[in-house]
């Protein structure tokens, strides 16, 4: 018995460096309350709660999700898959509903890194203590290793990375929830300090905290109501070691095999065979502007070697999908939540509740998720039409 699942409501706190006036439980409550209100669903009707919280070390609270119980006595499961936590959580909620064991699932994700002094020390601990911890492997250097490889293989330049970042910041100006509201030109971005060549400071994501929640419901509950239908979703995990991904017939490290495979399945389920034409909005989990370059070919939007031209075309070709109308992770990166924020923003676009950042005529939107050193990838297709 596999029922179709749709998103009825979305709730988000704003994303900022510190929410000094809120405890972790209060942040969760704010997002959940907003989602229930947006969905017009009462907490009593929620059958299961799934919580996404990534490394506990960022919050400094072990298993912080259980400090904010939603209703009384409901099942609660906690997911931690790093950067894809938010999407893994949404998918697990969708499975619960699709199985028939829940009619309504409440999923939320919390990032509390405002309580951390530095995130990079925490991120360094994601690497293998036996072989890798002695090296400056961080999210920034991981991204830089890929960016330099993309430049060597496909002819990207520093200018491409800067223009992608500029587009994200510009979009974020219309998103009142975003962390960063600055209109930065590519020149401004290239002038910002170099962190690890070729990555400049303004091409990296901020440290943001906040919470997001979604109300997922079965087709019976949704009935004739507007919903953002989960038409297809998939997740793939790759080998751990970056070094293992260089020499494969399917493509090298920057060809992002896990996202390719996730897209292939999700597109098949959603009936997408011409993504460039069929997708209206794409929310990318790329915490560094250069990381977007790996997603375009993986999503079937362009060939890898045409990537630089594809970036340039985004500024002029209105037939292309709109990228990151929310501003994306460059404008707000609440790590545990970011992948669910991408889904939430796509849902808002499909539901036509995206306010100033609403794109016109959105029938289908795609949200990606990225975790580990591009080890985990997720893709979710949301649409205004109930799946067949």
């Amino acid at each position: 018995m596999s029922t179709r699942v749709g998103i009825l409501g979305v709730g988000q706190t704003s994303y900022r460096r510190h929410h000094a006036d809120k405890s972790s439980a209060e942040l969760i409550f704010e997002a959940v309350e907003a989602a229930l209100r947006d969905a017009d669903v009462d907490v009593a009707d929620v059958d299961v709660v799934l919580a996404g919280v990534a490394p506990d070390a960022l919050a400094g609270e072990n298993s912080v999700e259980r400090t904010a119980m939603i209703g009384a006595g409901k099942p609660l499961l906690r997911i931690n898959t790093g950067g894809v936590t938010g999407s893994s959580t949404a998918f697990a909620g969708a499975s619960y509903v699709a199985s028939g064991r829940a009619r309504i699932a409440l999923v939320f994700a919390l990032e509390r890194m405002g309580q951390a002094t530095t995130s990079q020390q925490v991120f360094n601990t994601i690497f293998d203590p036996v072989y890798e911890k002695d090296f400056p492997l961080t999210t920034i250097t991981m991204a830089a290793l890929r960016a330099s490889m993309l430049m060597r293989m496909y002819g990207y330049t520093e200018r491409h990375w800067a223009s992608i970042a500029s587009r994200n910041y510009r979009n974020a100006l219309r998103n009142p929830l975003a962390h960063i509201h600055r209109d930065l030109s590519p020149e401004d971005i290239l002038a910002s300090p170099l962190l690890a060549w070729p990555i400049h400071r303004f091409e990296a994501c901020p440290m943001s905290e906040g919470a997001v929640a979604l109300v997922l419901a079965s087709e019976d509950v949704i009935g004739d109501r507007d919903a953002a239908w989960m038409q297809g979703f998939a997740s793939r995990s790759d080998a751990y070691a970056m070094g293992d991904r260089f020499h494969r017939p399917e493509g090298t490290l920057v060809d992002l095999l896990s996202l390719q495979l996730a897209a292939k399945q999700a597109y098949a389920d959603a009936g997408i065979d011409d993504p460039r034409r069929q997708l209206d909005v794409v929310e990318l989990y790329s915490p560094f502007s250069s990381a977007e370059a790996m997603t375009y070919p993986a999503l079937g939007l362009t060939e890898a070697h045409d990537g630089p031209a594809f970036v340039e075309a985004q500024e002029v070709d209105l037939s292309l999908p709109r990228f990151n109308p929310s501003g994306g992770p460059q404008a707000a990166n609440p790590v545990s939540a970011t992948a669910m924020v991408r889904i939430a923003e796509c849902a808002l676009q499909v539901l036509e509740r995206a306010g100033d950042r609403q794109v016109e005529d959105v029938r289908r939107a795609v949200a990606t998720g990225q975790g580990g050193a591009t080890q985990f990838s997720t893709l979710c297709v949301l649409g205004s039409d109930r799946p067949e």
């Binding site: 000094a20 006036d21 070390a57 400094g60 309580q115 530095t118 990079q120 020390q121 360094n124 203590p129 036996v130 072989y131 890798e132 002695d134 090296f135 400056p136 492997l137 961080t138 920034i140 250097t141 830089a144 290793l145 890929r146 960016a147 330099s148 490889m149 430049m151 060597r152 300090p193 170099l194 962190l195 690890a196 060549w197 070729p198 990555i199 080998a239 751990y240 070691a241 970056m242 070094g243 293992d244 260089f246 020499h247 490290l253």
Partner: protein
């Protein structure tokens, strides 16, 4: 009404001690560094890839690995970055971090590139974008740690 000055914060420290078991395979890999100044991989009997650093199992084929194989001492530079910003607990910049596939290996290995002056970042980047060959450079007294060696650009 709570004003900003009424908001309480509490300082905390998050530090945990661990004892990680490296296992037989990694232990032997480090012993080979320390006693023989050589980098070893293991071969998967199914796909026949030589995995470096040595592993006990191949995750792609999901089976135990077999033979031990020495790799290097030279190899191909796959990608690099020049780190210019300081991070707490990590080496002083500029630091060149790179992945290289040693001759005979099917996977790339991470380490630092030493023996070059990376203070001219743009010049260093241009030089490394040309993918010069690299070779292993061991310290005089290896300790059985991954930092016993680094990569150096092969001259000429």
């Amino acid at each position: 009404m709570t004003t900003a000055s009424d908001l309480i914060t509490i300082k905390g420290n998050w530090s945990f001690d661990y004892t990680y078991f490296a296992g037989e395979t990694a232990s032997r890999f480090f012993k080979e560094l320390r006693e023989h100044k050589r980098v070893m991989g293991t071969r998967c009997p199914s796909c026949e890839r030589v995995l470096v650093p040595a592993r006990a199992f191949c995750d792609a084929c999901f089976c135990r690995t077999g033979d031990w194989v020495e790799v290097g001492p030279q190899g191909v530079l796959e990608t690099f970055t020049v780190i210019t910003a300081a991070f707490p607990g990590l080496p002083e910049p500029p630091v060149v971090l790179a992945y290289a596939t040693l001759d005979g290996a099917d996977t790339a290995l991470v380490n630092l590139i030493t023996g070059l002056d990376a203070s001219d970042v743009a010049g260093t980047a241009e030089r490394l974008m040309a993918q010069p060959r690299v070779e292993l450079r061991f310290i005089d007294e290896p300790q059985g740690r991954i930092t016993d060696f680094s990569f150096e650009i092969v001259q000429g």
